[in-house]
Amino acid sequence: MTYTLLSDEELFALVRDREDEQAYRTLYRRYDKRLYSYCLRAMGNPDDAQDVFQTISLTVFDKRRSFVDGSFAAWLFTITRNMCLKALRSRKHKVEFNEEFIVPEEESAHSQDFLLKRALHTAIAELPEEFREALELRYFDDLSYDDIALTLSITVSLAKVRVFRAKKLITQKLSPILDELK
């Protein structure tokens, strides 16, 4: 069987129904880095991100019977989001995201591109929570609008509106810089 050609749902059905290890590994490798990146963004530091990531990985397998149909990605990110929110609630002091965990860009720290990206990330961080979350799921986690809607328990049209408004707010913030760069 060529596992890599199977859809997420087909692979997870093999994990759920036949406890197929290879199917699990294939699926895991499709999502591990994305999920870890999500956890790191949510938790703000690698230790907490690894704790939550480990719990999510085990939960997904333990809760496999609860996934019947629909989008596997949406189900997975719903679990991930809930776990991260729970971990954040239980943490007494929220740790701000530490930039040292970001891999340094190769570009010069003074290049236009670098400054623009920096401004972009600042603008994203300043977005209202619901807009930022939808935008990150779309652009950083590569989720479709359908999956974003399922993950956030909102309608698809609201997911689209949130992403659009987030982009519009960012554009407004970056507009002076973009003008300057012209």
Binding site: L6, D8, R30, S57
Partner: protein, 309 residues
């Protein structure tokens, strides 16, 4: 439709032909709208290439993969109370052994130099779990995701209590990886219908779908498959075109495995075209990337060696 609705539709590529005409007309008629469109497009492009490049602890992810895969293979996670109990008992026994060892160390060194008394047992206690190969989380099967108790974290710890992924056996992705590159979100673009051995036409159509859906992972996979097919047919120009596309998409998706494979395949094409220097550089790039990311690249190392001979 309002300007915002048109702009949103344009960015999502969901406008129909009439709406696109309307969109273009408004751009012509309203310079401020045209400027907004340009700025939004710039932000859109920035967003697509600006995912924070977090440092991924590959070894750690690998250790979790192995731990859960072992549960899958054994079906132990569905074993109910007994397996959870067994896991907990094992954790308790290990913990007790570590504490006993630490206590013994403290007692046996009692009376010696104060500095070593306080420092050494702490190190012994923290370093002992290094010998445990697996994670032993204790998560109950019946708990809902929101009510799960965080499992015992038996990840090897360093002296400061931080996870030390480097102490976990390093990950060699290609050892267990299937022969085809790994893909993601197959359902979005009907990847399950893609047959790697099928007609190029089907693959080309799927590639179009992927590109429309901006699914870099799928695009990279399909472009790689198409590139290899052309390469096998000695259609090197087309092969190069699609392998370069695969490389760009893999870089956008930050999939280092695909980047390595695309570079390797491009090297093969260059070699077959007699561009030996290019081939050497591309093989070298694949190998270097593999080494720095803990990915086995024997195939490309051997090709590089053969080239140098």
């Amino acid at each position: 439709m309002t300007n915002d609705e048109l702009l949103a539709g344009f960015l999502d590529r969901s406008l129909n032909e009439d709406q696109l005409i309307e969109f273009e007309a408004r751009k012509q008629a309203q310079p401020e709208f045209a400027q907004e469109v340009n700025e939004m497009l710039t932000v859109e492009n920035l967003l697509m290439e600006s995912a924070p490049a977090a440092s991924v602890p590959v070894d750690y992810l690998s250790s979790v993969e192995h731990a859960v895969a072992a549960k899958v293979a054994a079906g132990s996670a569905s074993g109910g109370i007994l397996s959870t109990l067994a896991s907990n008992v094992w954790t308790w026994i290990t913990g007790a052994a570590i504490i006993a060892a630490g206590s013994y160390f403290v007692i046996s060194n009692y009376g010696s130099d104060n500095k070593s008394q306080s420092a050494t047992p702490r190190v012994a206690l923290r370093e002992a779990p290094r010998t445990q190969p697996d994670l032993k989380p204790s998560i109950t099967n019946d708990a809902a995701p929101n009510s799960l108790i965080m499992g015992d974290r038996s990840v090897p710890q360093n002296g400061s209590g931080n996870a030390a992924p480097n102490r976990i056996p390093s990950r060699i992705l290609s050892q267990n990886a299937p022969s085809q590159p790994i893909t993601a979100n197959a359902n979005d673009v009907g990847m399950h219908t893609v047959n790697a051995d099928g007609a190029l036409d089907g693959l080309l159509k799927d590639l179009d779908k992927c590109r429309a859906a901006r699914d870099h992972v799928q695009c990279s996979h399909i472009a790689l498959t198409i590139g290899k097919k052309y390469s096998k047919q000695n259609a090197f120009s087309q092969a190069e075109q699609y392998l370069n596309l695969a490389l760009i998409e893999a870089q956008a998706a930050r999939l280092v495995e695909f980047v390595i494979e695309a570079n390797g395949e491009l090297a093969v094409v260059a070699e077959n075209n007699g561009r030996i220097n290019d081939a050497r550089q591309l093989y070298q790039k694949a190998v270097t990337l593999g080494i720095s990311n803990g990915i086995q690249t024997d195939k490309w190392s051997k090709a590089l060696e053969a080239l140098d001979k």
